[in-house]
């Protein structure tokens, strides 16, 4: 019972619960203000479905699971490869979000101060994106350690926990996607 | 010496306040009974088992629990809660869902930092900080229905002897009703912290006999008489920035940021209770509102004594 592994699991689960609660409130605010903007563009007018980014992010969950499994089987090079793919997919998702925001801000004139839609859209999607960045930093560290040879099979549990965080971030995206791009439009 | 006006929730004069008092007596009775029983058991236990034991070294019998007792003392409170809730729900709906008679008096109270704008939309009356209503009696009920709005931050409308409080929230419209059954003057004040002078956002509700209320309405609806000696002051009032914030019916003044001054002298206080409405206080207020109510949003207009005299001579005619 008194093992670092189980402690780490409990810690990450606790962390994920707290984060879920944090995201929950931003989702609630978004839903609450849906349709209540006094002026300005509506979601339907300006939002396109971010299909490519979503596909990249969701498949990165698969690749990170493959990485964790590979490391557990002591196949460090394979783990490094899948970590690399995960990071690339994550960066692709960030890139598509950045492109979308640029389009919204520059072309459509939607900022956080434009109306209630802008106020609730950017923080929700932005909070998620910041968590993607955090995840990419952690995955990048794992990747760097894999490349330098420092990553070993005994670290499999820790990489597994990082992958749990990554799965959570992807799960949040499923919710954000549904609320913002499906329900909200 | 001003008579004590204690706005006690246990001295209601209006139907919703009566209802709340009745409910509160029921609740207090139950709470008092629970307190006496539990405190009684506690005192008995502490005294009986706190006495110096004959054999202090031996441990007493270890009692781990009792399913029956524990069940009982869970179920009984649960039943009390059920009863309490049913009674509560009845009063909630009874007060909230009071139907509005078609001829009921309607008024709108608009909360500002830190004063109350009072409008009687159907009567064409606008005043500040003082509400006047007719008394109601069982034969001819005359409830008043109040719509509550705010132009800035959250306030709360509370006149304890007339009704429970209702918040006054920007971007939301709330409603409350009163039905005073006794002539008199009842006091209240803002009950939601709204900034610097929240403490000086007092309310006065004057309940008149029905015919006197009609007289009050007529006086408020009339424009104030033009007094020749006040002509200079009136022109000063119009030429200075006063009319940007204040309205006086019958003049170009139609500002909405400050209280309507048409019948300024008919009100008992200045600055929502900051000072009583006497010429001396009025002069001090106009000279520098912050001297009577620090941080008041009305600026001091930096008038010299001559201008103040003229202005005052005009303002005191606004009865």
């Amino acid at each position: 019972m008194n093992s670092a592994a189980s402690r780490g699991r409990a810690g990450v689960i606790g962390f994920i619960v707290a984060e879920a609660s944090l995201f929950g409130v931003f989702v609630v605010a978004y839903l609450f203000y849906l349709g209540k903007s006094v002026t300005g563009p509506t979601p339907r007018e300006v939002l396109d479905l971010p299909i490519v980014g979503t596909l990249c992010l969701l498949s990165s969950s698969v690749t990170v699971a493959l990485a964790a499994r590979a490391l557990a089987a002591a196949r460090v090079t394979r783990a490094g490869f899948w970590l690399f793919v995960t990071v690339v997919l994550g960066l692709a998702f960030l890139g598509s979000t950045a492109r979308e925001w640029r389009r919204l801000i520059v072309d459509r004139g939607l900022t956080i101060g434009t109306n209630l839609f802008g106020t609730t859209f950017y923080p929700l999607v932005g909070l998620h994106a910041s968590h993607v960045i955090l995840g990419l930093i952690m995955l990048g560290l794992c990747l760097a350690l894999a490349c330098s040879g420092a990553l070993k099979a005994i670290h499999a549990e820790r990489v597994e926990l990082v992958s749990w965080y990554w799965h959570f971030v992807d799960g949040v995206w499923v919710v954000v996607f549904t609320v913002v791009y499906v329900i909200g439009r | 010496m001003t008579p004590i006006q204690t706005p006690s929730i246990f001295a209601p004069v209006s139907t919703p306040a009566f209802a709340i008092r009745d409910l509160s007596f029921f609740v207090l009775a139950i709470m008092a009974a629970i307190f006496l029983i539990v405190a009684g058991i506690a005192i008995y236990t502490l005294i009986r088992f706190g006495r110096r034991p004959t054999n202090p070294q031996a441990e007493p019998a270890q009692v781990y629990g009792s399913t029956q007792i524990e069940l009982a003392w869970t179920v009984v409170p649960l039943l009390i809660v059920v009863v309490l809730f049913l009674v509560t729900a009845r009063y909630i709906y009874g007060i909230e869902r009071r139907p509005q008679p078609p001829d009921a008096l309607e008024l709108t109270v608009v909360g500002h930092q830190w004063w109350w704008e009072i409008r009687y939309p159907k009567l064409g009356i606008v005043t500040a900080n003082e509400i006047h209503v007719p008394v109601s009696d069982a034969a001819n009920p005359a409830p008043t229905f109040i719509t509550l709005e705010s132009v800035d931050v959250a306030h709360s409308f509370w006149v304890p002897q007339l009704a429970g409080k209702m918040d006054v929230i920007p971007n939301k419209t709330n409603r409350v009703w009163i039905e005073p059954q006794q002539v008199g003057t009842y006091v209240g004040q803002c009950a939601e912290y709204c900034g610097l002078q929240h403490a000086l956002m007092l309310l006065v509700v004057v309940v008149h006999p029905k015919d006197e209320f009609r007289k009050w309405v007529a006086a408020q609806q009339a424009a104030p008489a033009e007094v020749p000696t006040a002509r200079e002051g009136r022109e000063l009032f119009a030429s200075l920035a006063c009319i940007n914030c204040h309205s006086v019916r019958g003049t170009p003044g139609n500002g909405v940021f400050g209280p309507d001054l048409t019948h300024l002298m008919s009100r008992s206080t200045l600055g929502a209770g900051a000072a009583s409405n006497t010429p001396a206080n009025l002069r001090a207020w106009v000279k520098d509102p912050s001297a009577l109510k620090a941080g008041a949003l009305m600026p001091g207009m930096k008038l010299d004594d001559a201008q103040l005299d003229q202005l005052l001579a005009y303002l005191v005619t606004l009865r």
């Binding site: 619960v17 923080p123 | 006006q5 306040a17 236990t45 429970g164």
Partner: protein, 564 residues
């Protein structure tokens, strides 16, 4: 029966290092600053909380002086508004949370037979970020006039209702000090909660099933789980407020269609469970202390634990009883009235469990038990006024008045602070190896009980007579003068009690009677090691055969485990 203390053998390299490291003020200070030991961090949390308690008390004292009579001008309006904002914020975030989690820090590993918390460095992070947040909040007094010359210490009330907190109504940086300091300390609290859950879930000694944990540990587990769920919403609302104030967002900007009500929902969804997070570990203290001073096992362990967990769960559904006057409508008003009344049931049940423990016992009226006795009566009052407030129409008169101020001071002072004093007297010997004076303890107790009740019983009445809260003065013709004066007169007694307590603590650290391992003849694991415990807590953890391992060891013919 207290056993002679056995000096801990120098068996590990860590001890040798400790014994041979340089002493002196600089070295001691360094040790405390870099520590990750849960016991030291726990003490640092509690001491920090007590320091802020004194500061918050001074703020209260100044307010009570100003309100002692109508129309006084001792404290101007602006200062008064800052005082009540800082007082509330300090007491909840810089006194309640640190002391509650500080005790949990100290006691949980000892009670479950563990070496430390699951993540010692995260633990240290939690403490230092709390201290930073507290300093940041108080820096607002010092830090200058803000951008628009509008003053620095926040004056928006501890729950900072919108849209008063929007830039349009409070320019300058005062509100931002409130926002950022509370936000930052919140992260530390979440980290500590994660730490405690991981510790309790995975580091219990062999034989200690969940059903054998002390009730106190159950209370810590419950409130830590609650923290994970309800503290992030406050952080989220504060981030939204930051966005409104700095990036032109409109979350709570009613001029742009935003809602003032949604701040209240977010805040109270945090705020109500928060006060249970503060109070429930206090219940845990009482559940440990009453049995020991009654010489009896706790009556009804299973129902007590079930009540604790159900309080935690139901409390999260009661928040809008703070909003009965907002105009939510009959359905919501009824729902929240119902849930609030419901949570009173398990809370009341606990009182009965404690009475059931005292009943039939051989009571030892030492200071810890005295404080628990006062707690019982005061918490009973607090709970009953709470049920009154749950009756929504009654609340329509009582809320935002001095009645509700009296109610929550009965909960957080009359109940919580009294249990904290009980805990301080009870565990001070364990943490320091020295006893606090019983004689001085009685003085502290009686001064506090009398002072507290003079102030806070009296305070109910102005509320019922129409006096709202958060006002820096009141008219002379309301009839509130005498009641306010009496309320103020109770304050010096409370201040004296705290002063005497502090002096006794400082004195006892050097000159208190040696405590030994188990001065109270208690039965939980923390009493099975030295006072103070060594850095590693236990040389060997005693076998855990029941909820009272030491009882089993002392009574091999009549152990607990057949009865559990």
């Amino acid at each position: 029966m207290a056993t002679a203390p056995v000096p801990a053998p120098l068996s590990t390299p860590h001890d040798i290092i400790e014994a041979s490291s340089p002493s002196g003020l600089a070295a001691t200070l360094h040790d405390w600053v870099v520590t990750v030991d849960h016991k030291r961090l726990g003490i640092m949390y509690v001491v920090t909380g007590l320091v802020f308690l004194v500061i918050g008390g001074v703020e209260a004292f100044l307010m009570r002086l100003q309100l002692a009579q109508s129309g006084l001008t001792l404290v101007p309006a602006e200062t008064f508004n800052r005082l009540f904002t800082l007082h509330g914020t300090t007491m909840v975030f810089l006194v309640g949370i640190p002391i509650v989690f500080g005790f949990a820090n100290y006691l949980v590993p000892l009670m479950i037979g563990a070496r430390d918390l699951a993540f010692p460095r995260l633990n240290a992070f939690g403490f230092w970020i709390l201290l930073f947040g507290g300093v940041l909040l108080y820096w607002s007094f010092v830090g200058g006039d803000g951008l628009y010359g509008a003053g620095s210490a926040p004056a928006v009330g501890w729950f900072a209702y919108a849209p008063l907190t929007e830039r349009a109504f409070t320019p300058g940086n005062a509100t931002d000090y409130w926002n950022l300091s509370v936000l930052v300390t919140g992260f530390g609290t979440i980290a500590t909660a994660i730490n405690l859950i991981a510790t309790i879930a995975t580091m219990r000694a062999p034989g200690m099933t969940l059903g054998r944990m002390p009730v106190y540990v159950w209370t810590v587990l419950t409130v830590s789980a609650m923290t994970l769920i309800i503290l992030p919403p406050l952080s989220a609302a504060q981030i939204m407020l930051l966005l409104d104030r700095f990036l032109g967002a409109h979350y709570f900007d009613t001029q742009a269609g935003g809602s003032a009500i949604i701040w209240q929902h977010f805040f109270w969804f945090f705020g109500h469970p928060e006060v249970y997070i503060l109070m429930v570990p206090g219940f845990g203290f009482v559940s440990e202390i009453i049995p020991v001073f009654s010489r009896k096992v706790i009556f009804g362990y299973v129902t007590l634990v079930a009540a604790t967990v159900s309080i935690g769960a139901v409390a999260m559904s009661t928040w809008a009883h703070h909003m009965f006057t907002v105009g939510m409508g009959g359905t919501l008003n009824s729902f929240f009235a119902a849930s609030t009344m419901l949570v009173a049931v398990p809370t009341g049940v606990k009182i009965f469990n404690w009475l059931g423990t005292l009943y039939g016992g051989k009571l030892r009226f030492r200071t810890p038990l005295l404080f628990c006795c006062a707690f019982l009566f005061q918490f009973l009052c607090a709970g009953l006024t709470g049920v009154m407030l749950a009756v929504a129409p009654f609340d329509w008169q009582l809320t935002d008045s001095y009645f509700v101020v009296a109610h929550f001071h009965f909960v957080l002072f009359g109940a919580l602070i009294f249990t904290i004093f009980a805990a301080l007297y009870y565990w001070f010997p364990k943490a320091t190896g020295r006893m606090l004076s019983e004689r001085v303890g009685r003085w502290v107790f009686w001064l506090l009980v009398v002072g507290f009740n003079v102030t806070f019983v009296t305070m109910h009445f102005p509320g019922v007579l129409g006096m709202p809260r958060r006002i820096y003065t009141y008219p002379a013709d309301r009839g509130w003068d005498l009641l306010n004066l009496v309320t103020t007169l109770g304050v010096p007694l409370q201040a004296l009690a705290v002063l005497i307590f502090v002096i006794n603590v400082v004195y006892s650290l050097r000159h208190g009677a040696p405590a030994g391992d188990n001065p109270w003849e208690a039965w939980t694991l923390e009493w099975a090691t030295t006072s103070p415990p060594p850095a590693y807590n236990f040389a060997t953890v005693p076998p855990v055969t029941s909820r009272r391992p030491l009882w089993d060891a002392q009574h091999p013919d009549d152990p607990d485990w057949p009865h559990e």
